[in-house]
Structure formats: structure tokens, C-alpha cells
Subunit: 411 residues, 2 copies
């Protein structure tokens, strides 16, 4: 099979793949408290306003604002204190003209009051009278009913990843269960005559399986459930049979080939036979990771990753992660914020090809600087030593020291 007849640019390859897949329709209802990192599968609305009653934002006196107009230190207003509003309960009285009530931060405003004078601007003057030394406007120092959220308002849209703030907001509304996207199950199959399981004893010429484990962690981090099928020799029948089974059992499939060219060809042949429409992209214009295969077989995404560990992890970040995010229904697919940093050393590259180089991003007084870690692409510890990756755009013939370049954190 002719490999790489036409290398597709990274962005275009991703678009070809993403344009043909749909959100995983399966959702599940879970406890809000366990929802950290999950993605909402429906719009969440509040049935009540928040706050549900007008609250004071300060310690002070609840007033009718009109009663304070013109009040100043030299010419105070005098109001009659008719009570104290207890925290957590209804005031039990209304404020008539000339009256006020002592209120605490977060307390419920009494009926007919419409502002609060801060305690610092008041002075008790004996009996039940308080001096008001400062005027307040209507609405001053209060939060109105529904000022945070109105009844019926959408509070969290569909397709949002839940953070601590969302969990807090849902607790505030008493929404204790939410509907989230079910985690897609992603099958991982490693092939390669030279590859053994990490717990095996190495014989000469053998290496341990790295990709099943680094990819499992990446999938876990992205919100999928990795399902490792193990390591298989480069035999077409064997690989085809395990891939067929995995495709049935999973929502998506990732195959990492052995490192030789014949092993890569074998992966392509297996994917073609797995189902239609089959291979969409074979060969991406990127280093590392040129032999990447992007396919859809029987409505499920199948990705063939290069065998070497660095290429596999870089390509998984660029293609597997966005697919998982799309399956989850995340509305901001691929929003992985970039940094601009001053490059410390020239990075050579071939024009027309996008390069990704492991790097160390450091903050200094002038902003960020980034130091590339040059290494052969099969050395997994070059990524362990890196905290970021520099992207060399396809139209650049290398990047020069001192240039501001694009950097992405490796998390």
C-alpha cells in the first residue's frame, strides 16, 4: 500500500475528522458533587431566583433611602431602631418612614426598606435612636432578588466542563444531580513484534510497551475511559481480530503500530478492513507523527498512531484529545491556551511541515522564555524533562533565537 501519497496539514486533517463525527448521544445523571471535570449534556436552568430574598452586603442599618437624603456628619438624620434582623430568618417587621432595623452582612432586608447604611456611618444616640451620618441611594449596599440568577435563567449551558465554581453554583441552587455526557470508552491496542508488556522480562531486541500507558493516562485526563487490550505481534489476522472485537466494545479505537514500516502498513490494512467509510487521512504533514492514520469505521473513530512514544503522545494530544472532547459534547473543543515566549535557541525545520519540539517554559521578568529540548523523537524521557511544546508553523523555515514563538503546556 502506498503510504503518504499526500500529506495533509494538521489543521485540515483534524477538520476532516471532526466534521464527520457526532456528539456521543449517551448521557447519564450523576451527583453534582462527583461532577468535577464532567461535561454537561443539557442546559441547566434555575427554577428560583438567587438570592431568593434581598440581602444586605454590609453590616449596618436597613432604611428607606428617602429617609437618609441630605444626611451628613454635620446634619445627621435620626431614625428609630425598631429591631435587629437575625441571620437566617425573616425580619418579622417592616420599615415605616422614620424607622430602621439593625442588619448584618447577608441578612434579609425587611419589607419597605430599600437600602442599607454602613455601620461606620451611624451612631447610636441613646434610647432606640440612631444617627445616620451619610445618605444612601435606593439599592445601595443590597443585593436584589435574582441579581445573581433570575428564575428560569440558564445557569450552565450544554457542553461545559464542570469546575469548582460550577459545583458551588449548583449547590447554591440546590441542584444536587445533573445530566452529563457518559465517558466514552476508548480501546487501546499496541502492536509490534519487538514490544512486550511492562511487567515482562526484557530479552535482547525487545522494548516495553509505553504507549498503552501514556495514552491511558491522557485519556483519563481528558475525560474518557481507557480500555487496554494489550500488546499483539505484527500479524494481520491477530491484529484484525482484536481490533474488530475492540471496535464492538468501545466508542473509539486507538492503535499504536510497531515501529517498522511494515508494521505501519499492517495497521493501515487492518483499519481499511474494519468498516466504512474507513481511512480519511493517511499521513499528516507533521514531525513527529507523519504516519498518522485517521479513520471512521462503522461510525466510530479509529486512529492509527505512530509507534514511537513521543510521536504517539504528541499526535494523541493533537487528534485523540479533540475527538474525545467532541464525543463529550464540549463546546470549546481544543481550547488549550497557548503562550508566547522568547525562544532561546534556533529551531531548524523544513518549510511546509509543522514541527512540535519539546521544551522548557520559564517565566522571567520580561515574560516567558522557552528553551527547546532537542532529542530524537523516540526518547520518551525528553517529554518527561519538558513542561511544554513549541509549535513550528508549517510555513516557517525554522524559528530563530529571540523570536516570540507559540508554546503549549504539557499537562
Amino acid at each position: 500500500m502506498p503510504e503518504f501519497l499526500k500529506l495533509i496539514p494538521v489543521k485540515q486533517a483534524l477538520q476532516i475528522l471532526l466534521s464527520q463525527i457526532q456528539v456521543n448521544a449517551i448521557a447519564e445523571r450523576i451527583d453534582t458533587l462527583t461532577a468535577l471535570g464532567r461535561v454537561t449534556a443539557e442546559s441547566i436552568r434555575s427554577s428560583l431566583p438567587l438570592p431568593p430574598f434581598p440581602r444586605s452586603t454590609v453590616d449596618g442599618y436597613a432604611v428607606r433611602a428617602a429617609d437618609t437624603f441630605g444626611a451628613s456628619e454635620s446634619l445627621p438624620a435620626y431614625l428609630r431602631v425598631i429591631g435587629e434582623i437575625q441571620m437566617g430568618s425573616s425580619p418579622g417587621f417592616a420599615i415605616n418612614p422614620g424607622e430602621t432595623g439593625l442588619i448584618h452582612t447577608g441578612g434579609m432586608l425587611p419589607e419597605s426598606s430599600n437600602a442599607v447604611v454602613m455601620i461606620e456611618y451611624t451612631q447610636p444616640v441613646g434610647g432606640d435612636t440612631v444617627e445616620i451620618l451619610h445618605s444612601v441611594a435606593v439599592g445601595e449596599n443590597i443585593i436584589k432578588v435574582g441579581e445573581d440568577v433570575q428564575a428560569g435563567q440558564e445557569v450552565i449551558p450544554y457542553g461545559v466542563r464542570i469546575r469548582p465554581a460550577e459545583i458551588g453554583g449548583l449547590a447554591a441552587l440546590g441542584i444536587l444531580e445533573i445530566v452529563v455526557a457518559k465517558k466514552p470508552i476508548v480501546g487501546i491496542i499496541s502492536s509490534g513484534d519487538e514490544i512486550i508488556s511492562p511487567d515482562g522480562k526484557l530479552l535482547p531486541g525487545q522494548v516495553r510497551d509505553v504507549n498503552s500507558y501514556s495514552l491511558s493516562a491522557l485519556l483519563d485526563q481528558t475525560g474518557a475511559i481507557p480500555k487496554r487490550y494489550g500488546v499483539f505481534p505484527d500479524q494481520e489476522d491477530t491484529i484484525h481480530s482484536i481490533c474488530s472485537r475492540a471496535l464492538d466494545e468501545c466508542d473509539m479505537l486507538v492503535i499504536t503500530a510497531g515501529s517498522s514500516a511494515s508494521a505501519r502498513d499492517l495497521t493501515a490494512r487492518v483499519i481499511i478492513k474494519l468498516g466504512s467509510p474507513g481511512v480519511l487521512v493517511h499521513g499528516v504533514n507533521i514531525k513527529p507523527g507523519k504516519p498518522t492514520i485517521l479513520a471512521i469505521c462503522n461510525d466510530k473513530v479509529v486512529i492509527g498512531l505512530p509507534g514511537n512514544p513521543v510521536s504517539a503522545l504528541v499526535i494523541a494530544g493533537l487528534f485523540v484529545v479533540p475527538v474525545v472532547e467532541t464525543l463529550l459534547g464540549l463546546t470549546k473543543v481544543g481550547f488549550h491556551p497557548k503562550f508566547w515566549a522568547r525562544l532561546t535557541t534556533n529551531i531548524p525545520s523544513q518549510a511546509g511541515r509543522e514541527d512540535w519540539v519539546a521544551a522548557s517554559l520559564i517565566i522571567d521578568n520580561e515574560g516567558y522564555q522557552v528553551d527547546p529540548i532537542f532529542s530524537k523523537s523516540n526518547l520518551i524521557f525528553s517529554l518527561v524533562r519538558a513542561n511544554s511544546m513549541v509549535r513550528v508553523p508549517a510555513d516557517a523555515t525554522g524559528l530563530s533565537a529571540g523570536e516570540r514563538v507559540e508554546v503549549y503546556l504539557l499537562t
Copy 2:
């Protein structure tokens, strides 16, 4: 008790606290495969070199480099092919002068060979002879033994958070168990007469507990185990007794006060009685979050957070997260990378005080721009709507539209 006699700057307050705490000495041995996000509690070294044998990085012919010197398309070298190196096994032959062996990417170099000629630069010419159309230098197209990792080398230092790359690297070395810091247990106690559990029915004047839940999620995200004790009324004896119990049961304690000034005073009084040395900082020069209390009681950190949900989450990000990271032994405490973005709207602020403003960070053609979300600090949904926070430094009297300002992602 006089509150806020002296407001301490944010950075200084954190230093005061961190300088007095030590890494949680407790470590545990876990499966490497479950170690994502955990922090190494000892230096990890490799007992073997990686790769353990010299490997080819291309498909081609393993040669003695000297045999190819001067070879070109017009004047090829001729070598005798004595075999093919099977993937995953020892070649079983050595390369004598004038000989070569077919090798695949990742294959083990035969003895006495020291370079590989890419298949593209070779041409079989019948029998067992191959034309070499290009010379190679010693070491070309091979990875030497130990080029990724040398035997005995430290591969992951102490105090590193495990990412997919580390898991891959450990798999490559066959290191299936590692020693990581035990997750610290952090007790969370909410106080406030007005606060009820999220599953309760709201009466007038009551609000639901937000902080126990948003803080639990934040702690979970940071690598701690949150332990929620529930909501308690603002009674000194009650709060003291539950705090004493929680301090015994946990590695650290976070107390969120009711919103009134008297509830905050009560938290301070309780913390003072919990153990020595007691309160280190009471009052931080920040908005939101001025009433923050930082304390150490019986060698455990106790943090009193402001009651309002936004202040609580912002202050927890600035103080609780770095403490947890320190307890975990993370060597890069508080490396939460910042962005610089063009501000869209003026942010007013008081000189001398550090302000944190919820915001929306957007990427455009010129880089990042950031749009502040102005809101009263008790409105939790202002954080739900935000993806970031703008920091207004203490020495600024506000920030102006168009300025490049510091932004931190809200994750």
C-alpha cells in the same frame, strides 16, 4: 477582638504561612498506572539504560560506517547482505568488513555495526549484494545504549506531579510501583446561622452552603482529600468543638465563616483556642477576601476563609492550594502560569490593595484580550461565567483599557 489592625500584602501573607509548614512526611507506594496527578515522594532512578541495546531509527541497512565512506550515487559501495534483523530479537550475527544486514526501525543493531543507511539510499543488485548510494557517519541513524536514560540516572525527581509522559517513561523502565505523597485530608467546616445544607428546604432569610462544595472540588483537583463536616450555627462552643475534632482527624482545616462581622470574629476566637502558635495573619490586603485568617494550630494549618462564595474560592486558590501543594512536597508550588492580555475596559481599584476580578479571556489575532466581569463579590455565578481572573497589583490605582494585564485561568 480588633480585626484587621494591620492588613498584610498577599505575597507576604503566603510567605509567612509557607515558611512555617513542612512537607507531609507520609508517603505511600502505589501502582504506576494509577499515579496520574500524584506527586513523587522520592527520587526515581533507572536501574538499566534506555534503550538497553543500540537501535535503528530508520528502515535500512546496518553497516560499519567506514565501509560507506565516499559512497555516492555515481560511485556506490557494494556490501554483502548476510541477513535480516528480526524485530524483537537479537540479530544472531555480527557485521564484518564488507557486510551488512537489513534492519527495520527500532531493530537491534548487530555487533560491530555502528550506523544505518536509510533504505532510500540503497539498491539491491541481485544475489546477496546491495548498492550503498550515500555515506553515513559513525552513529548515524541509530540510538545508542543509554541515550534516553543511563543506568543509575535519576529519571523523575522528588516532588514532581505525574503526567501521562511520566507514566509512559516509567512503563518503559518497567517501574510498576512508585512512592508518592499521601493525599492530605483537609477538613471543611461551614459556619453561619443563615446557611443550610444544599439538600434542605430554604426558609426566608436562609441560603444554601456553597463553600463546602466548591472547596471540596478545588481540593480534589489539587490532590487533597476533602472531608466535609457540615454547616454549624454561629455558636462559639459548637464551632470550637467540631473544629477540635476535625483538627485531630485531618491534616489541615478550612473554616468558612458566616457572612456577618460577628461570625467572622467568632471564627478568629475559635482558631486562637485551637492550638499554638495560632493566628499568623488576620486580615490580608486583598479584595475580595480581606477577612482571611491564616493560622497554625498544633503543627496543622488552619485557614479561616471569608463566608461569601467568590471570596472563599479566590482566597482558597491563593492560600489553600499552595499549602496543599507544599504538604504534597511539590517542588514548584504555585506555578500557575499567567497570561498577559489586553484589557477591554478600565478596572478601578484602590491603591495599596491587590484586587482580583473575574474575567473572560479571549484569543484573537493579536494575542489575548480580557474582558472583566463586574459583579458583587457574593455572586457565585460571576465565577461560573468567568474563565479567568485579572490581578490588579497592589501598587496600581486601577488598570486602564488597552493595558497588558496579568490573567490567570480559572480551572
